[in-house]
Symmetry: C3
Subunit: 264 residues, 3 copies
């Protein structure tokens, strides 16, 4: 049974996600549909890129990830398809694939792109404001049904990418930044466990607060305490035990995170 995931900023109220699912099941009955998230902040491409990169690796070979965070819908921005290792991507050419693409490149897996420019794989009528339903859903469904990616459009190579800012090596350790605030208020930074391997973190500075050292997990400190630890995606995170660090620190994506390494 083919597997299609959906990742959008549509919210869950208006039925737009359901319209996409109806279109897919019309073309490819029996397709297994999994929601990654529909609560991406409106038009927030970097946020969608992060969530996609964090979840896609856990899905089976052959999964088709359909991403519709698409402020450029109906303009010249291209609808694209990609094969990324053993999975597929369908969505707008606006950089939303950037972070997943970087991971696939690091794994040296095969990558190919097409411009989804074959209207025979779209709905007969295409609205200027909802390509998720009219172009992306049908293209994903045709892939699920067995069409080859190269049938859906012309091969291209010049897709749009953006780079996540990398943390800077400083004389005291690393300066990075906040890249995500999650549902619990955990703060995720772009400083990764790879940066810290074999080193001893003496303190973490964030939003005017200092945290001494790192813990292994939340339960090592008391309720309400601020802690720094390694998150489930390998990033250094800052949390409040059974509370919201984002709220406590008034944190905002882009704020500085400084890690001090013990030099001894």
């Amino acid at each position: 049974m083919p597997l299609i995931t959906l990742l959008t900023d549509f919210g869950l109220k208006d039925g737009n996600v359901a319209a996409m699912k109806g279109v897919i099941l019309n073309i490819a009955p029996g397709t297994h549909l999994i929601d990654i998230s529909h609560n991406i902040s409106p038009q927030n491409i970097p946020e969608a890129a992060l969530i996609l990169a964090r979840t896609a690796p856990f899905f089976p070979s052959g999964t088709i990830h359909t991403v519709v965070v698409d402020p450029g819908v109906g303009t010249g921005r291209r609808p694209i398809g990609a094969s990324l290792g053993d999975q597929f991507f369908i969505g707008p050419d606006n950089g939303v694939i950037s972070m997943l693409l970087k991971k696939i490149e690091e794994l040296e897996q095969n990558i190919a792109f097409v411009h989804l420019n074959k209207p025979e794989f779209w709905l007969p009528q295409v609205s200027n404001v909802f390509h998720g339903r009219d172009i992306f859903a049908p293209c994903a469904a045709h892939l699920a049904r067995g069409a080859g990616l190269e049938q859906l459009g012309e091969t291209i190579t010049d897709i749009i990418r953006f780079a996540l800012p990398e943390p800077e090596l400083t004389n005291y350790g690393y300066q990075g930044e906040i890249i995500h605030l999650d549902h619990f208020g955990n703060i995720s930074s772009n400083i990764r466990i790879e940066h810290l391997q074999g080193k001893k973190v003496s303190k973490v500075r964030i939003c005017g607060k200092e945290i001494n050292g790192m813990v292994r997990t939340f339960g090592e400190r008391n309720q309400g305490e601020l802690v720094a630890l390694c998150g489930s995606t390998g990033n250094l995170i800052v949390s409040v035990v059974n509370g919201s660090a984002a709220r406590k620190l008034n944190a905002v994506v882009g704020d500085n995170v400084e890690v001090f390494i013990n030099k001894d």
Copy 2:
């Protein structure tokens, strides 16, 4: 594999949608379940009617739409089933089917109704406050499993309907009203593209603001600008590019929308 959709005002916190799904899968294992929305405003029948009419046409033949926005649960209001063209509806007789029904009538497809009055197709115990779980879910599941609609209850014809207010033709163009505010803050009016075909819109007046002409899509104007355009369901919509028109205009469902047609 039969396909059942669910559209409710239950929200996603309390597990009530899950209870319905459990009931369905008990009776009709393997049924494909798709959520249309569970975030309809509490008891808002017209909102549910709109979302149903906008999404149902994208689903495959045979789909069973189960709608539970049901302020009259446990009173004399009837539970009904309907065949609407090649799809089915299960839900309360409170008008929530009105807009979809109108579309099916315009397409001159077959329509039939039954009063779901055969307790052998319900759960053995029926609560007075949750017919979604105890009557609608099991009836939908029995349909999915192969029961004919006419087995589920007696044929009826006098179901409850309401009419969506139609825009008025005026000396300057059309006067309509706001019928929906979506997740992005796009404002949907009841003035449809059919009203405007072949005409030139000179301006749109809404909530004390005037918008000159219409655009094809959001990206034709700058971030933050107010635009009027044709939405993905063929309605005239008013949006703010990468922003919320509903918030900017303090718009409320029912507010006037006036379209001025160029007479030249």
Copy 3:
């Protein structure tokens, strides 16, 4: 087709639920996945226990309920699996199973527990903060794929349980408390219909208000009125017709609910 449900406090924004689903579908392709709720208040084990007990009984034999409300993740708290009658539970040993367990015991069905301590059924890399993805999802998937519960870990019997406070019999009737506030603002108490069978309720006192008698369903009173009735799970609930009793009464879980029984 095996059926796995998911009940968490992860919210629907960050893709964590999707990561769990990807893990499951990798191990047990074709598994039917049903969300019970992902909007449990953060770390609220009693709330999750209640929602689980209210929904699980409606699911088919063989269903595997995966619950991840897990403030103790990464500490000494054990990951456990259980067979509860003809269904299964996978989750942390923190009491979240208590209320469902009590129901199963009342039905005198078979019960068995294991400590999920066999890493060969986990993901190869286990994070200290996301056992939902790294331990619970893979264990649930292996169960779905046909592993026996006893293969997943050593049999145990000393699991953690908490008791829901029982209402007290008083000289005027019953004193109970609020155990849940739902999406509509309905207030659920721990006084159950079994307590009231064959008795006549003269009034209900809650949050400083008194309600005369009980109604069968919402529609028996006018919009905005406060009513007491039997909810869909057999608990005495307090509602506002087409409104929110929780908001009207400023109700909080744990507040007193007093039921006065007519002695005549």
